[in-house]
């Protein structure tokens, strides 16, 4: 399944991605747009039998399909490295598209609203199961109630090493700090050997 095995990710032109997951309206696209060099673009994934593992739709020509939108942005990091940020709906029913999306990702930012912490449960479960490094970023926009971050950690039953931080997704430096943190954490996990390189194998 791996393409271009002769290419090395250690030198030359490379592209990579960080996933931003979270509930509806929690600020995923805002975060992406705050740090992206382009206005967030929208792509779609089809919800079809593909999602239940059927590879060929030839014999189901009338199978109706629906689509789910995914907004993404881009950050060029020097001449030869491009980072993409993919905002993806957090609900469990979208897991079929995450399998594909998280493969090869550096890590994920789970954006949460403390009034609707339950919307983060599915994403936490998923990334833990996949072994993808993730951080939890509490989006403290105006008027949002503030909770101590340790309460958020407890409510989400996060391991002690999982970073939890408060951000304002509208502020560039704040959004950037979340991306830096998840990248640092991914590196820590890799160097610490807590993460197997076979991430994505399911």
């Amino acid at each position: 399944m791996d393409f271009a095995p002769s290419r090395s990710a250690s030198a030359g032109a490379a592209s990579t991605k960080i996933v931003v997951a979270g509930g509806f309206g929690v600020g995923k696209t805002t975060l992406v747009g705050t740090v992206s060099e382009i206005l967030p673009l929208r792509t779609e994934a089809l919800v079809t039998k593909e999602s239940v593992g059927v590879d060929d739709l030839t014999n189901t020509p009338n199978k109706s399909s629906t689509t789910v939108a995914m907004d993404f942005g881009r950050i060029t990091l020097g001449d030869d490295l491009v980072l993409y940020l993919f905002g993806t709906p957090g609900q469990r029913r979208f897991w079929f598209m995450w399998d594909d999306l998280v493969r090869g990702a550096i890590g994920a930012v789970i954006l949460v609203d403390t009034d609707r912490l339950d919307e983060a449960f599915a994403a936490v479960d998923y990334f833990e199961a996949k072994g993808l490094p993730f951080i939890v970023a509490v989006n403290e926009f105006d008027g949002a109630r503030r909770y101590p971050l340790e309460e958020v950690r407890d409510a989400l039953a996060l391991p002690p090493h999982t970073p939890v931080m408060a951000i304002d997704a509208r502020e560039r430096e704040s959004a950037k700090a979340a991306l830096i943190r998840v990248t640092e954490y991914a590196l820590e996990q890799l160097v610490g050997g807590q993460r197997q390189p076979s991430m994505g194998a399911s």
Binding site: L41, T48, E50, T66, G78, L83
Partner: protein, 148 residues
């Protein structure tokens, strides 16, 4: 990592994050038109949902000169994809630009790569990446993020 957390696992199939179909005018569905989103998308791929070329959404692609010389008559969507690859761009950006679902674009792009019309011009992390490759790319990303 802890797998047996006490988190409840609600099934939130409540219609939030409603699917969006930009550019799909439902009231024109019975008109014959090649517009993306009106053609059943996987009809463009003869029902195939996977490509033999693995193209992650962040992979950068670029059309090769021979794509310019090819006659794409009757293949409007493929021609649009080729045109979107005129300058190096990601699979996701091609999907957004041509208005076709990401899975369909990946199959069609995979065909174009196999046929030698499009090339993949960036390395990405894969399941086969070594720890060293992984570490190098993450470190490059970290340096880049800190510098912007």
């Amino acid at each position: 990592m802890a797998d047996n957390s006490p988190r409840p696992r609600p099934d939130r199939s409540d219609g939030l994050d409603r699917p969006v179909r930009p550019g799909r005018p439902d009231d024109h569905e019975d008109e014959h038109t090649p517009l993306a989103g009106i053609v059943r998308p996987y009809a463009l791929t003869s029902g195939r949902t996977h490509s033999s070329v693995d193209l992650p959404v962040e992979a950068l692609v670029e059309s090769l000169p021979r794509a310019d010389d090819h006659d794409w008559t009757g293949q409007d969507q493929v021609a649009a994809i080729v045109a979107a690859c005129d300058e190096r761009t990601s699979v996701a950006e091609v999907s957004a630009q041509v208005g076709l679902p990401i899975g369909v674009v990946r199959v069609l792009l995979g065909d174009l790569v196999e046929q030698g019309f499009v090339t993949v011009s960036s390395a990405t992390l894969t399941d086969a990446s070594s720890v060293g490759e992984r570490r190098s790319l993450i470190e490059r990303t970290l340096r880049g993020l800190r510098a912007i």
